[in-house]
């Protein structure tokens, strides 16, 4: 079992200004690999995912997604957890598209979605000194919300 005691949840919250949830993480997203807290753990097609990935998966429709989550990492049952985080993300994305808004992102810049590419502009990033060590510790490759590796 991996130690989550040093990791904070990287799921995004907010509407005008996005930032990390920052609650204590208890699992990894099975799709993008970001650490997520119990509140942001969603089950989509037997995959444990963060709300952003769950929303993206729902948008894409049913498919044979690669299952990467390790159930032993989950500290509490998630079966009956409400999926309201997904609808929040979907609603947020609808707002961004309709009003042409590119959100400001305060927090970790290792994960991004289609709507927060400002994270690549150094002026918009508030660097968290913990980011490097966290990724190294997790042994993950940074991915975007569509599951593509950033390095590729």
């Amino acid at each position: 079992m991996k130690d989550f005691s040093q990791l904070s949840c990287r799921s995004k919250k907010g509407l005008l200004f996005l930032r990390d949830c920052a609650e204590l993480a208890s699992a990894w997203c099975g799709r993008c690999g970001r650490p997520i807290c119990s509140r942001h753990q969603m089950m989509v097609e037997s995959l444990l995912a963060c709300p952003e990935c769950a929303a993206a998966l729902e948008k894409e429709g049913p498919q044979d997604s690669e299952y990467t989550a390790d159930w032993s990492e989950v500290s509490e049952p998630v079966a009956d957890r409400p999926q309201d985080g997904v609808s929040e993300v979907q609603e947020r994305n609808r707002f961004y598209v309709e009003f042409g808004y590119i959100p400001f992102f305060y927090g970790s810049h290792h994960y991004y979605s289609d709507s927060d590419f400002q994270t690549f502009d150094n002026r918009f990033i508030e660097h968290d000194p913990k980011d490097g060590p966290i990724l190294a510790q997790a042994g993950q490759t940074a991915k975007n919300d569509t599951g593509d590796d950033l390095e590729s």
């Binding site: 509407l15 005008l16 200004f17 707002f95 309709e98 009003f99 808004y101 400001f104 002026r123």
Partner: protein, 297 residues
């Protein structure tokens, strides 16, 4: 009705509520206000119904009594006693209904706060600075005499008389501190136009008809934390922001956008107002006009 807090009872009586509280306190206060108002309106409607039914039955019984009155000797006295007792009971019920109808009259008239403010606050909950307080000033009395801006007679045309009354009702003033110290300010003003038309029908009777128009002006301002963000004039001129909006960039580095919405409610009971989506959209437009300060400044 007894489980409600004093500020809520006062708000319903005065039609106004203001203060500086946390989001959770406001949501619980406003939620309680909605419940209290709904409960009061339900009781008022029930008493009104009681009064109407009692008056209707009383008029029938009154007619029966009036028929019976000149012939006291032909019917047994028990029937007289029963009829007049029923009249008395119905009259009592009608009085109770009328008193209850007046008693439960609240001054909170408009529903805009429950349709617009509560959902918008819930949507913005994660953007507010943790532990910060929201300054709110709500006037929920709707178009009352004190808010009359202008009243005048218009050329009647085909009508006997045509009067126009304009009410200006600034019902919401809100100031919230967002994450990183940015400030979001909203002001919403409802302008009501009431047209009273009196016309004469072919039978010679005078008929009064009232028409309402409602113009909602939403003004939002954002005062960014100058160290992190500032108003970008180039972004402000973007057609997506300025398309529907009259905008104004102020001296102190804040940005203000104003937008108007028109409604034609059938009556004042119609709850027509701006949707929370429009308010959030305006907030997004305000934030779209911001950009980080240039490096080295």
């Amino acid at each position: 009705m007894s489980g409600h807090s004093e500020p809520i009872r006062q708000a319903v009586k005065d039609g106004r509520i203001q203060g500086q509280h946390s989001l959770n306190t406001w949501l619980s206060l406003l939620g309680e206000l909605v419940r209290y108002k709904t409960e009061r309106e339900r009781l008022r409607a029930r008493y009104g119904k009681l009064a109407r039914i009692s008056l209707f039955l009383l008029s029938i019984m009154g007619a029966v009594s009036w028929v019976l009155l000149p012939q006291p000797l032909r019917l047994p006295p028990a029937i007289f006693i029963a009829v007049y007792a029923l009249d008395l009971i119905l009259a009592g019920m009608a009085i109770l209904g009328i008193v209850g109808y007046i008693w439960f009259r609240g001054k909170v008239v408009i529903n805009d706060f429950s349709l617009l403010l509560i959902p918008a606050l819930k949507m913005l909950k994660d953007d507010l600075k943790p532990g910060s307080r929201i300054k709110l000033k709500l006037d929920l009395r709707g178009p009352v005499k004190e808010k009359i801006l202008r009243e005048r007679k218009l050329p009647p045309g085909n009508y006997v008389k045509l009067t126009e009354t304009i009410y200006s009702d600034r019902w919401l003033e809100m100031e919230a501190v967002l994450v990183k110290g940015h400030r979001l300010i909203f002001r919403i003003t409802n302008k009501y136009l009431r047209y009273k038309r009196i016309r004469r029908n072919p039978r010679g009777k005078f008929k009064l008809k009232t028409k309402w128009k409602k113009i909602v002006t939403v003004t939002g301002s954002i005062r960014p934390n100058a160290q992190r963000l500032q108003v970008d004039p180039v972004k402000l001129n973007d057609s997506r922001i300025s398309g529907k909006t009259k905008f104004k960039s102020k001296k102190g580095g804040s940005c203000r956008l104003s937008r108007k919405y028109k409604f034609k409610p059938e009556s004042m009971a119609d709850s027509m107002t701006v949707t929370p989506k429009e308010l959030i959209g305006l907030s997004l437009n305000l934030c779209s006009s911001l950009s980080p300060p240039a490096p080295g400044k």
